[in-house]
């Protein structure tokens, strides 16, 4: 049997590599930061006059729109990161370093989970950088909230990373990734509670409301939102964990050597 120390070393190696790669890719960090900040500085600022948010949990007072949108943007950072690490998996696989990972003498579920944790660690670094800038800008949660949001970010980051991993096991080629951006990222983001609360969506229509409710990204955003304000949203936690289990299960299945998904994708000689 493989020794626990082996697992620990491998996990350390995989997370360490991801963080090192992240540090080396400054543009990636910058774009991860600029994207939500644009939404905060431009989009939210413009909407401020039009859209204040009435009192709704976990908020205790009437809040400006910028305050509402920050947890959703934190979720967006993780959504993009999850898709980007899956992009890097598709790319890695073509480059061969994914193969290097998969020939390691460890169970495949462990390797994929470790890879997922590594991506999540990077996404959390990005979220904290974003939250720090938002703080300076004046969107400030309770100080303790920045600690309690951490476990929520771990769960949501894993869930969104697992979604990306599942997609990467199903996408044939790199080119199709632009399609994923259009057909996965944008709908996931817009059909969620990231930009508007659920009751706003209900005013807009029942279908929209339904789609926003069942979107796992909504659940992740609400989980983050409540945790940032020192509260636990148990249903959101439950749904997020359930989605994580489903996506991860699908990804492990997709990367299972007996499945032949990889065979069809690599296409042999």
């Amino acid at each position: 049997m493989t020794a626990p120390a082996h697992y620990a070393r491998a996990l350390g190696g995989i997370v360490g590599r991801e963080v090192l790669r992240f540090v080396h890719q400054r543009e990636r960090f910058l774009s991860a930061l600029v994207r939500p900040l644009l939404w905060l500085f431009v989009f939210a600022a413009g909407f401020r006059a039009a859209l204040g948010i009435a009192i709704t949990p976990p908020y205790e007072t009437y809040i400006p729109y910028e305050v509402y949108i920050v947890p959703g943007l934190a979720g967006m950072v993780q959504l993009f990161n999850g898709m980007q690490s899956s992009l890097s998996m598709v790319y890695d696989r073509e480059m061969g370093s994914m193969r290097m990972l998969l020939v390691s003498p460890l169970p495949r579920w462990f390797l994929l989970t470790a890879k997922l944790l590594a991506g999540t660690a990077v996404s959390i670094l990005q979220v904290y950088a974003f939250l720090a800038v938002a703080w300076v800008y004046g969107v400030q949660a309770p100080p303790l909230g920045y600690l309690t949001v951490l476990p929520a970010l771990v769960v949501s980051g894993l869930m969104l990373g697992a979604l990306g991993m599942l997609l990467s096991s199903a996408i044939r080629q790199l080119e199709n990734f632009a399609g994923v951006m259009n057909f996965v990222i944008f709908p996931t983001f817009f059909l969620s509670t990231a930009l508007y609360p659920l009751w706003k969506m209900q005013e807009a229509g029942e279908l929209l409301h339904f789609l926003c409710t069942v979107n796992p990204f909504s659940q992740a955003v609400e989980l983050i939102r409540f945790a940032l304000y020192l509260d636990v949203n148990l249903p959101a936690l439950g749904w997020t964990v359930l989605a994580l289990a489903l996506f991860l299960g699908g990804a492990v299945y997709g990367y299972n050597p007996a499945q032949g998904f990889l065979a069809r994708k690599t296409g042999g000689e």
Partner: protein
């Protein structure tokens, strides 16, 4: 306990339905043997490598590494094998050291041991002074040497290489070929080396000729030549692969 380092029996594989990429392939590579897997492009070499490295697996046939069944105990089997893939697999932005230590971590090698082995295996390949450089700064031949050093970090009994000299210039190719031959002689490592380049195969090597997914001949170069009635391996190869060419 004279299990060959690699033994493959009755291996078949089909992409989709009907068309076999590999059909009933059997071969063995013993300790200290340099075995060339020789075949034209599209012969099934890459498929065979994907199966040996468990990128995917097949219900047809068995692969044993040092006697361990790859399907039943994949982790143990993979732990005894070093791999050099055809595509480059190094992180370009990381240093040589970081690349090697990452690999060592995947194999559960303690940090201190990993540092020492990295130094050692790079030295043997004349790359020790490059350890702190990023891979991007190295040329193709040097990158391949680093990959070779990496594949040896966990001291495998079997080394498999999939067309490892693709894209290298003549001196770099020769250096890699000679180094791997030396590994067989001096350290008793079993090597399976896939190639379509006959000049990479020495007189004393073993060869497995594969064509259209089937093994056409296997054995020491001299025996294969004798069996086909040819003077050189080039001639043997032409005869073995020409039969069904039309």
């Amino acid at each position: 306990m004279a299990e060959p380092a690699l033994s493959i029996e009755g291996l078949s594989y089909a992409y989709g339905r009907g068309t076999f990429a590999l059909k009933d392939v059997s071969l063995a590579v013993g300790a200290g043997s340099f075995t060339a897997l020789l075949g034209p492009n599209g012969a099934g070499k890459t498929t065979l490598f994907a199966l040996i490295t468990r990128l995917f697996e097949t219900p047809g046939g068995t692969i044993r590494i040092g006697g361990i069944d790859l399907r039943r105990e994949p982790a143990r089997a993979l732990g005894r094998m070093g791999v050099v893939f055809q595509q480059p697999t190094l992180d370009l932005d990381l240093t040589v050291r970081q690349n090697l230590l990452y690999f060592a971590a995947l194999h559960g090698i303690p940090r201190r041991t990993a540092e020492a082995r990295a130094q050692d295996s790079l030295e043997r390949l004349g790359m020790a002074e490059r350890i702190g450089e990023t891979v991007r700064a190295l040329n193709g031949g040097h990158r391949r040497r680093v990959e070779l050093a990496r594949a040896l970090l966990h001291e495998p009994a079997l080394l498999v290489l999939d067309e490892p000299t693709v894209g290298l210039d003549v001196p770099a190719r020769r250096a890699i070929v000679e180094h791997v031959h030396a590994l067989c002689r001096e350290r008793g490592i079993a090597v399976l080396w896939a190639t379509h380049l006959i000049d990479e195969i020495g007189e004393g090597d073993r060869v497995v000729v594969i064509h259209r997914g089937r093994v056409r001949a296997a054995g020491p170069v001299t025996e294969v030549n004798r069996a086909t009635g040819a003077d050189t391996l080039t001639e043997s190869f032409t005869r073995l692969t020409a039969k069904e060419a039309a």
